[in-house]
């Protein structure tokens, strides 16, 4: 099932004009507050009809110039930033609120198990922690058997440990038995990098870049929309060993398409495929294989593109094996090293800059 969206909507001086398609899997809309993210998903959910546009899910037209299907007939699950559980009902009755008798899977037990809610079923929403409340909201949306799931910054109101609580459940959705498109709105690239298959970059009501997440994150021209400090490409890796032959030293060895990496604190079993997010500002470039360097992570790469910004920095797009990397260096370094397209270089980064949050399945 595919979601097609084309919208034009004006609120005061703000003008939203977007056109995109969400295939199966997780599509993330990334943008700062006020970029128009929530306006888009409220229009998809039917909560605020757009001025003009067409929204279709599978073969069903939800919104166009002639028709506007009301929210309750759209079969779209919506997980709000603020959970919005019904305070007068127990967790159990919140979960089954939108479920119809005799509906197709998922079943109540599936969802309760998947989200780890067994212990809180008889409690009231007010007594739940923020993370628990969001898990209930997610379960409630899934149990209404939607054709599409909308997630509006479901982690934004949670502190870091709570985020870590709920992220694995969201990852479970990706791999889980729900073959429905998921549209995930966020202003956190960490979450997006961990969860999304497709990425849409939104700024001031316009789509700046969209495509498979690996391509968008590896695109040097997308760097201004991601923020210099948040930008970074993702590479795929497989865990090949934990520790050395002689025992454990906390480091794991991973194989990428271009070479070997050694990273600390990876809990995944051998053979697990991971996505590693390597921050652009943490990558150092060398025009020859470095010697006498403490970093254990050096990947051979070829410069594909150099994107000079207006400031002192430059974004360098690299191809390393079949993966893409992004490095942020100074414009002066580009000049003095005479970096150019097609040049063979070595990308170096410290093992500790790949933090656990940036590792997805």
């Amino acid at each position: 099932m595919t979601l097609q969206v084309a919208l034009r909507h004006t609120i005061g001086a703000f003008d939203l004009d977007v056109d995109f398609t969400c295939p199966a899997g997780v599509t993330a809309i990334f943008g700062r507050s006020g970029a128009g993210k929530t306006s888009i998903i409220n229009a998809i959910a039917g909560l605020t009809p757009p001025d003009r546009g067409r929204i279709a899910l599978g073969g069903r037209v939800l919104t166009d110039t002639h028709s506007h299907i009301p929210s309750h007939k759209r079969r779209i699950g919506y997980v709000f930033q603020d959970a919005r559980l019904f305070p007068h009902l127990s967790v159990r009755r919140n979960l089954t609120f939108g479920a119809k008798p005799g509906q197709r899977a998922p079943t109540f037990d599936d969802i309760v198990g998947l989200l780890g809610l067994e212990a809180v079923l008889d409690r009231r929403p007010r007594t739940l922690s923020g993370g628990e409340a969001q898990r209930v909201a997610l379960g409630r949306a899934l149990l209404s058997a939607p054709d599409l799931l909308l997630l509006d910054e479901p982690l934004a109101a949670l502190d870091d440990p709570r985020k870590q609580d709920i992220l694995p459940y969201l990852e479970g959705l990706r791999a889980g038995p729900f073959h429905i498109p998921i549209l995930y709105v966020s202003h956190s690239l960490d979450e997006v990098a961990r969860l999304a298959d497709h990425l849409i970059l939104l700024e001031n009501g316009r789509i700046m870049r969209q495509g498979p997440i690996m391509d968008v994150l590896g695109d040097p021209s997308a760097l201004p929309y991601l923020g210099v400090r948040q930008a970074g490409a993702m590479i795929e890796a497989t865990v090949t060993a934990h520790g050395t032959k002689h025992g454990t030293d906390g480091l794991s060895t991973l194989r990428t398409s271009a070479g070997q990496l050694e990273l600390p604190g990876i809990a995944a079993p051998i053979g697990t495929r991971l996505r590693l997010r390597v921050m652009a500002q943490d990558v150092i470039l060398s025009d020859r294989r470095p010697r006498g360097l403490s970093s254990r992570n050096v990947l051979p790469a070829v410069i594909q593109d150099i994107h000079m910004g207006g400031g002192p920095g430059a974004a360098v797009a690299l191809v390393s094996g079949s993966d893409r990397l992004l490095a942020r260096v100074t414009a002066r370094a580009v000049r003095e090293m005479n970096l150019h397209q097609g040049q063979a270089v070595f990308a170096i980064f410290k093992a500790t800059t790949v933090a656990p949050l940036r590792i997805g399945r």
């Binding site: 009301p70 309750h72 759209r74 919506y78 709000f80 019904f86 305070p87 007068h88 949306a141």
Partner: protein
């Protein structure tokens, strides 16, 4: 301080009339309060003004207007009598109508405030879970507004118990038929030495009013506690 038969009758009639008036007014009051709180439509201000009119009109005027509309020779009165065999003027049923009209604005006001206090975001969430508007109102809005609905009900009941001006104008003061508690108190006080009989009824009025308020407070608190989940 013993009560005469007339006094007992008046007390019984008042309670009977008030229960009928409250039960009949409540569904309509909830519907009107929901419309005023949640919907925008042409004529909303007019509806609101109409509902609240009895609050500001002199009760005697309201009673007289009722007599003009529902009297036995008035069009509406003739229609009701011919169609349903229902006579309102100078009957206890008319006292019920007067109590409904006079209590209605108080009920609508309390219920409307309670509905407005329910977070519309919860109603949006319910809609995305597949509930049509009536089901959202039934399963989310009204349960959350319940303490306010209860308060409105008690207000309506209390107003019905105390209604005097419109009632006496519309249905007069016929012992055993339309003589409610306030009418009886009024009648007793017209007779020299009737203060004793009036005092007993007055005491009853205080006890019933007080009991109703205590009961509704207790119910509202227990509901609020249930919602808070403590």
């Amino acid at each position: 301080m013993t009560m005469s038969d007339a006094a007992w009758q008046a007390l019984g009639l008042s309670i009977w009339v008030s229960i009928w008036a409250t039960l009949m007014a409540l569904p309509l009051a909830i519907a009107v309060a929901w419309l005023l709180a949640r919907k925008d439509f042409f004529g909303k201000t007019l509806l609101s003004a109409l509902v609240h009119l009895p609050l500001v009109l002199p009760p005697v005027v309201t009673g007289y207007l009722l007599l003009l509309s529902f009297g036995r020779r008035a069009p509406l009165g003739i229609f009701l009598e011919n169609t349903f065999g229902l006579v309102l003027a100078f009957r206890w049923t008319g006292a019920v109508l007067a109590a409904i009209i006079m209590g209605f604005p108080l009920m609508v006001r309390a219920i409307r405030l309670a509905i407005e206090a329910v977070d519309p975001k919860l109603e949006q969430a319910a809609a995305t879970l597949g509930l049509p508007a009536w089901a959202v109102a039934w399963r989310v809005t009204l349960p959350l507004a319940f303490p306010g609905i209860l308060a409105g009900t008690v207000m309506g009941f209390a107003k019905a118990m105390g209604e005097f001006g419109a009632t006496i104008t519309f249905v007069a003061n016929i012992p055993g038929e339309t003589q409610t508690l306030p009418s009886a108190v009024h009648a007793f006080l017209q007779i020299p030495g009737g203060e004793g009989a009036a005092a007993a009824l007055i005491l009853w009025a205080v006890v019933i009013s007080f009991g109703a308020i205590v009961l509704s407070e207790w119910l509202a608190q227990s509901v609020a506690k249930r919602i808070a989940g403590t």
